[in-house]
């Protein structure tokens, strides 16, 4: 999926994560993550973000994530929503993302 503009999802409330997914000129994914549990789970959070983007076919994007202690399923859902918003797409591929 191609990002057309910045897409945002989530909140800054406890147990959630606010993510902004932006188009990027060059290839690759860049993640700027801030989390109170970055030391313990930073790599795991980034893995969930990368896996979700991969499933959605996004290969160039700038991600800003402000984590408030979200579980993996929440992170995944927020990234999916932000990407759909940024790609201006409503063709939710439920089967695809359920894998």
């Amino acid at each position: 999926m191609d990002l057309k503009r910045a897409g945002m999802a989530g909140t800054l409330e406890s147990s959630d994560i606010m993510v902004v997914v932006e188009p990027k000129e060059d290839d690759g994914i860049k993640i700027h993550l801030e989390s109170p549990v970055e030391k313990q789970f930073g790599d795991q959070i980034k893995k969930v973000i990368l896996d979700t983007l991969d499933e959605l076919g996004v290969d160039k994007a700038m991600i800003r994530a402000k984590d408030k202690g979200a579980l993996d399923c929440v992170i995944k859902a927020r990234i999916q929503t932000a990407v759909y918003r940024g790609a201006d797409s409503k063709d939710y591929l439920w089967g695809e993302v359920e894998r």
């Binding site: 897409g7 945002m8 909140t11 800054l12 409330e13 606010m18 932006e22 800003r64």
Partner: protein, 344 residues
């Protein structure tokens, strides 16, 4: 045990007198006031009682307050989330917060980064980690050597012979001159047009770079009261904030050690701004040169006078006050909608 489901979220209709008074009262209790350029307000209620609120004007979040009895309960997070979501929905992604320095810590927790502050008065933050640093990084590419590196900030609404005179004088006295065009779209001439007319009007000068001021020089974020043109207690504080950002971030990126301003005889806001510049910049190694205005037939040439003449349809008088490049634009088809706006 607190029941969190009792909180009601509500968009405030500022046209509704009762709701407006309620939010004004709540802000007053928190030593804040409702700014008069607010476009969206939101509040959280515990039953009938307002316990937290936040607002924004264009891309700047402000007037954010939480009842002291409800601190530490995630209220700020709820308010910020709602404001940020609403801004993105309106297509704005680079956001700012105008707040008191004591609240910087709370907003850092919410993914905002400090740009600058005036101690005890105000702090400005943004939601992009490399916002201001990215801006100055791009500026650095235009850095030019020289002992005297000057700068001028202009709104140029539109570019007049007065601006041209100031630029020519500064260009002559400096090794290099950087001009920043105010980028906020709150003047009758849109930013792209103002920028183009400045560039065309100074084409004959070989030691000048024209920059877009973007969000960091006299913008809705750094200096909202500039655009309201009313003398106000906030003008002084915001002047200081704007000049501090200039001195702290922008001047070092380009090696600027001079700032040129036109003497301001009329506008109270600009008078305060110029005064603050003279108070603050010399101590930081930036000399301020206030140049008396070029006048014509007993009147100082100013963009506001040009707009007045345009409103009255006195195009022949305008011709005397603007460079040929600006005059050519005013007679072009592109100018029709702008001239309409001025007349109405």
């Amino acid at each position: 045990m607190l029941d969190f489901n009792n909180y009601v979220e509500k968009t405030i209709h500022l046209n509704n007198r009762e709701e407006r008074e309620q939010i004004e009262r709540f802000l007053r209790q928190n030593s804040l006031r409702l700014e008069n350029d607010i476009e969206y307000s939101f509040a959280l209620y515990d039953g009938e009682r307002m316990v937290a609120t936040g607002s924004f004007s264009s891309n700047v979040l402000k007037c954010i307050a939480v009842d002291s009895g409800y601190e530490g309960m995630g209220m700020a997070g709820k308010v910020l989330s709602r404001l940020v979501t609403e801004e993105f929905r309106r297509g704005r992604t680079h956001l700012f917060i105008f707040t008191k320095p004591e609240n910087v810590g709370i907003f850092k927790e919410m993914g905002f980064y400090e740009i600058s502050r005036v101690p005890l008065k105000v702090a400005l933050m943004e939601n992009i980690p490399d916002g201001i640093s990215g801006f100055t990084h791009r500026l650095k590419k235009n850095k030019k050597p020289g002992r005297a590196v000057g700068s001028i900030v202009v709104n140029a609404n539109p570019f007049t012979k007065g601006h041209k005179y100031l630029v020519e004088k500064a260009s002559m006295e400096c090794d290099w001159l950087h001009i920043f065009v105010v980028w906020e779209d709150r003047s009758v001439f849109p930013p792209e047009v103002r920028y183009r007319l400045v560039k065309e009007g100074i084409k004959h000068l070989k030691n000048v770079t024209v920059h877009k001021g973007k969000d960091y020089i006299i913008s809705n974020a750094t200096f909202p009261t500039y655009f309201l043109k009313q003398p106000d207690e906030a003008v002084k504080i915001q002047s200081v904030l704007d000049i501090k950002i200039f001195q702290q971030h922008i001047a070092p990126a380009l090696g600027i050690n001079r700032r040129y301003v036109g003497e301001e005889p009329y506008c109270p806001v600009t008078i305060i701004y110029n005064q603050s510049m003279k108070e603050m910049l010399p101590d930081r190694g930036i000399e301020v040169f206030e140049i008396s205005r070029k006048s014509l037939g007993g009147f100082a040439i100013s963009a506001s006078r040009v707009r007045k003449l345009l409103r009255e349809g006195e195009l022949n008088l305008v011709k005397e006050m603007v460079p040929d490049t600006t005059f050519a634009f005013l007679n072009s088809e592109d100018a029709l909608s702008i001239l309409d706006k001025i007349k109405n």
